[in-house]
């Protein structure tokens, strides 16, 4: 809502500087999001965030003048010589203004004298420029008549500004129309402030001033049967009034009105439209003007019958913008006996529009159900100043004030005669009464607000307050407000808002500390993050939104997705089922500028469930690693080794070990998206936790990864974390020295290393403290199909120093077991 202060001060005295006003309004919930200066210098302390340069109208150099004479420029067809009077001697200058012509006289214009700084009317984007005397086609011109664009008022630069006839010649323009325009963000509960009077009321309450609403006369009720009004459903339209104004002379509205509308962000059209818009901005009540003669014509010269009703299926309406609208009973319309003539509260119809030839205006002032208006404005994508106000709720009480005010302006400014009004208001809204126990104020705000202050604030906001006994007040809501819906809490907000939040002390909670519970899922999730970061991996976080195609190779065909009905882009149209696909996306984008990376992400996937409205949202962990094993360094080999399966497995093992997950098992993985020979699945007590390994090279292209080997992992974090013990046993540090013995065994290729290790442990019993595989050998010294595995065995007892003989005995047992069960033989 744009509020020109000059206009605002018609309704309330502004006793504080502009900067202070901005602050008070902002703190009271009317956030001033922007300030625009019109010709005036920036007042002290006022923050102006204006992207466009704004000229300051010099008091001595930008003045109101009267045109004395307009002549043709002797040497240029398109140029004129205009002589003006601005209070001193007549002054001649050259102009290209298209709205002056030879012989013109008496117009009030704005003259800028040499030295004035204005906007360059032709520069784009506009820049400030100082006016200097110049010769134009041989004639010296040291002043100019100004356009609205040059003055920084609007983009209008077709012609110069023509002021109203009574504009005082010689007055500095800044005194006549310099202004400050506040741009206020009006929140939904402050919809009443989508009007000058609404804002003025707030200013009055905040500064202890009084509202000066414009006077409205009532008119004699006419007996002329000019129209009939019928409301089908008072819930959709509580009140409808139609006022007839005859003999309206359509023409431009006066300069002051055009200026105010322009500063408030609306384009002046003609006096009829401008008056309806002006009153809407003033009162917050949108109005609509019909051509009464056209309505009479449609009624076959009879009395028009105006109905407010839902559209019937199949009805159509050509709206003011020339679009044909297909209507349904969802849409509330204004209709006559021949069909719809307007989309109620949203846009008028073309058939009954006021035109240049309109003589008689039927003025609609009505209130509509905000839900219905919202729905219609949305359905047709027709946001407008009117629908904006209606869709937030306009109090039916405003109908009469606005209709009377507009009628008066029609009489004043368009030469019309007000015939009278017909109205339907089947169920007037009763005033809302709230009982406010003073103790509730303390309970909510934490401070005692003296009853005098409570009354002062409520009175200032035009509430009626009576004592209701037992520490309570009976408060009646003024008739312009619809937002006091929940009674006491709404009133408390009004109290603290006007009293000032800066008056509240800051306290810390007195309330006892609630029962504290550990959030284990979160604690463990964060632990996983820390472990992986310690392993040298970088965490990434991706959009949960993706496409089915991107993930398809990882999640398989034919799975259900949570799909968006209104995606912003097709790239982000379904909720992901794979975190790995996300991390691969990060990898691909980074691999354009790095050689290698190690990434992980922990996040949710969204899995629709049969028979459930809402999906399951389990957490997943995904890892992607690729590139050199070591970061590049000045003494590293020219061809550094690349990360392989075992680097990733090392990370997986570190994760499991740090989480103290017991007995994880690795087996060849079955996943189609992994390299069949270089991938493993992880099982813990037989549950499949996830898979990892080299991404199937056939998928590199799909994920934009080029020809490198990419190592990937995806784990079901819920399953994994379920396996993490809450506590784990700590082994004492052994007091007696260990004995290390190495053995190498030769066995079939097909026997997995893990199996050999398991048998060694089984054979070694409790004296075998540790087993480490330190060499795998295949080669000419071994028979075809055999490999040699070398293990370092550490023997140690907790209660004595072992002898070599002890160790040898255990080793013998181990070797025997390997020979017996795995067909191994000790390598010499």
């Amino acid at each position: 809502m744009k509020v020109p202060l000059r206009w605002l001060s018609d309704y309330v005295e502004i006793p504080i500087p502009a900067a202070k006003l901005v602050e008070r309004l902002t703190l009271a919930g009317l956030e001033v999001a922007g300030v625009r200066l019109v010709g005036v210098p920036a007042p002290e302390g006022l923050v102006v965030r204006d992207d466009a340069p704004r000229p300051v109208w010099d008091r001595d150099k930008v003045l109101i003048a009267e045109v004395l004479e307009v002549k043709k420029h002797p040497d240029a067809d398109r140029l004129l010589l205009v002589t003006v009077n601005y209070g001193k001697q007549p002054h001649q200058m050259v102009t290209g203004a298209t709205n002056l012509k030879v012989g013109d006289k008496g117009q009030k214009v704005v003259v800028a004298l040499s030295g004035a700084v204005l906007l360059d009317g032709y520069a784009n984007p506009p820049v400030l420029k100082q006016l200097k005397p110049t010769k134009i086609r041989g004639i010296l011109s040291d002043a100019m008549v100004c356009s609205a664009r040059e003055l920084g008022i609007s983009d209008e630069h077709e012609g110069i500004i023509i002021l109203e006839n009574d504009a005082p010649v010689g007055m500095p323009l800044v005194d006549f129309m310099g202004d400050i325009v506040l741009d206020i963000d009006v929140l939904p509960n402050m919809a009443r402030c989508l009007s000058l009077i609404g804002v003025a009321r707030e200013v009055a309450a905040l500064t202890g001033g009084t509202l000066k609403a414009p006077p409205t006369r009532s008119f004699a009720v006419s007996t002329e049967p000019f129209a009939e009004v019928a409301i089908e459903d008072p819930r959709l339209c509580p009140r409808y009034s139609a006022t007839l104004i005859r003999n309206v002379a359509i023409g431009p509205s006066p300069g002051w009105m055009q200026r105010r509308l322009t500063l408030a962000g609306m384009r002046p059209i003609n006096n009829v439209v401008d008056i309806t818009n002006y009153v809407m901005l003033e009162w917050g009540q949108p109005l609509h003007a019909f051509d009464h003669d056209l309505l009479v014509q449609r009624a076959s010269k009879g009395k028009p019958r105006i109905e407010v009703r839902p559209a019937r299926a199949g009805e159509k309406l050509v709206t003011l913008d020339g679009q044909t609208r297909q209507l349904t009973p969802e849409h509330l319309v204004i209709a006559d006996t021949r069909g719809p003539i307007a989309l109620a509260g949203v846009m008028g119809g073309a058939d009954t529009e006021v035109t240049a030839s309109t003589r008689n205006v039927l003025l609609e002032a009505a209130s509509f159900d905000f839900v219905s208006i919202r729905r219609t404005a949305r359905a047709f994508d027709l946001p407008s100043e009117a629908s904006l106000r209606f869709s937030r709720g306009v109090h039916p009480d405003l109908v009469s004030s606005a209709a009377l005010r507009a009628a008066e302006l029609f009489a004043q400014l368009a030469g019309g005669q007000v015939v009278g009004s017909v109205e339907s208001y089947p169920a007037p809204l009763p005033p809302q009464v709230v009982t406010l126990p003073l103790s509730e104020i303390r309970r909510s705000l934490g401070i005692e607000l003296p009853v005098v202050e409570v009354k002062r604030i409520l009175h200032a906001l035009e509430f009626t307050v009576e004592e209701a006994g037992s520490g309570s007040l009976r408060v009646t809501t003024p008739p312009h407000r619809l937002d006091i819906q929940h009674g006491v809490a709404d009133l408390i907000e009004e109290l603290v808002r006007i009293h000032g939040y800066d008056q509240l002390p800051a306290t810390l909670l007195r309330e006892q500390l609630p029962r504290q519970r550990t959030n284990w899922p979160l604690v463990l999730e964060e632990r996983v993050r820390d472990i992986l970061a310690t392993c040298g991996l970088q965490e990434v976080m991706n959009y949960s939104l993706t496409t089915v195609e991107r993930e398809a190779p990882l999640v398989g065909p034919g799975v259900e997705y949570v799909r968006l009905a209104n995606p912003v882009t097709v790239e982000r149209s379904v909720m992901r089922r794979s975190v790995l696909a996300s991390v691969l996306e990060s990898a691909a984008s980074n691999l354009r500028h790095v050689q290698g990376l190690r990434l992980f992400e922990i996040g949710f996937v969204y899995l629709p469930r049969a028979g459930e409205k809402l999906p399951e949202e389990p957490r997943r962990l995904a890892i992607v690693m690729t590139g050199p094993r070591q970061p590049e360094f000045w003494d590293s080999p020219t061809k550094p080794p690349l990360l392989d399966f075992f680097d990733l497995k090392g990370v997986v093992e570190a994760l499991l070990a740090e989480l103290h997950v017991p007995s994880a098992e690795f087996r060849p993985a079955q996943a189609t998206w992994l390299h069949p020979g270089r991938s493993a699945e992880v099982r813990i007590t037989d549950d499949l936790i996830g898979c990892f390994g080299q991404l199937h090279p056939g998928l590199n292209e799909h994920f934009g990864l080029g020809r490198r080997d990419v190592l990937v992992a995806e784990f079901d974090l819920e399953l994994l974390l379920a396996k993490v013990p809450r506590r784990h046993a700590i082994q004492p540090i052994p007091e007696f020295p260990p004995i290390r013995q190495d053995i190498a065994v030769v066995l079939d290729e097909a026997v997995p290393a893990a199996r050999v290790e398991a048998e060694i442990r089984a054979g070694g019993g409790e004296l075998l403290r540790d087993v480490k595989l330190f060499d795998v050998y295949r080669g000419p010294n071994l028979p075809e199909g055999k490999k040699s595995l070398a293990f370092a065995l550490t023997f140690q007892a907790l209660d004595r120093t072992l002898t070599d003989k002890d160790a040898a005995k255990v080793q013998q047992k181990i070797v025997g077991r390997l020979e017996r069960l795995l067909g191994a033989r000790l390598r010499a």
């Binding site: 919930g29 923050v47 939904p188 909510s444 002390p505 909670l509 006892q512 500390l513 912003v568």
Partner: protein, 339 residues
Amino acid sequence: MDLHGLQERALAELQACRDEAALHAWNGRYLGKSGELTLALKRIGELPPAERPAYGQKVNQIKQTLLAAAEQQERAIREAELTRSLTAEALDVTLPGRPVQRGRLHVATQVMRRIIAIFADLGFQVYRSREVEDDLTNFELLNMPPHHPARDMWDTFHTTTPGVLLRTHTSPGQIHVMRELCPEPIRVILPGMCYRYEQITTRSEIMFQQVEGLAIGTDITMTDLKGVIQAFAQRLFGEDRTVRIRSSYFPFTEPSIEVDMDCIVCGGKGCSLCKGTGWLEIMGAGMVHPVVLQHGGYDPTRYSGFAFGMGPQRITMLLYGLKDIRQFWANDLRFLEQF
């Protein structure tokens, strides 16, 4: 026998020894089996018996002197050699160190942890709830019936299942936690991802985190809210921060407020970060609306509560002076590695 001459010569030659080999040779020459001094001692028999003790004593004295001098020379040679070899091993210390493979948490995780830790100190615990929500919990139970004008404040992603949407804020978590814990008092924060139907620009994202706070009990007031917010701002942004409260509007709080903090760059004088106002908006908050308390199972005539909500991405942008919100989920390592 010129014993004195012998000593002088031996000492002079010793001084000339520059390495261990020379020292070894010198040793052989004077102190070895057929060294001069050894031979000099053997010659004792050639002397008259009366001179022998004095001679023997003299030779022994010289031997001690030479041994001590040799030991000293040997130490000197070793030291010199060590110095020489160390000098030869000298590195160019300006060469870069061998890089360690460093991992780290996403900046969003880092900042989220800081926020959670601060509220943990104030007794707020973490409660998380789902991201794909129903209209009922995301809007209706939060005092926004269908077509409520306030719904315009959130541009919503709807799913193809009617009534199912991506949560536009973490506030539906208020309903979940109230219904789970009622009638216990509550002090939780609700961190998590939210979604809005917006164009992706430097200033707006379709996905962002929020941290919402909720305290419910029989003695919780607006002044407590002010105190908690102030404590948070001072912990995260610095002890001399002050906050300013503005009246605002959210359907699920009443009264509703917006909280500004004095600008961390200019301290209130006005700069480009605060767009000249001297204030930075850090969160929205308010007293839990009676209708919402009721929907959570709490009797609004006995219980009261406050709620607040902030955007960790916005807070991160303030903390680090970032200008482009799209960087958070772009995961460019050149960005992430700076945190």
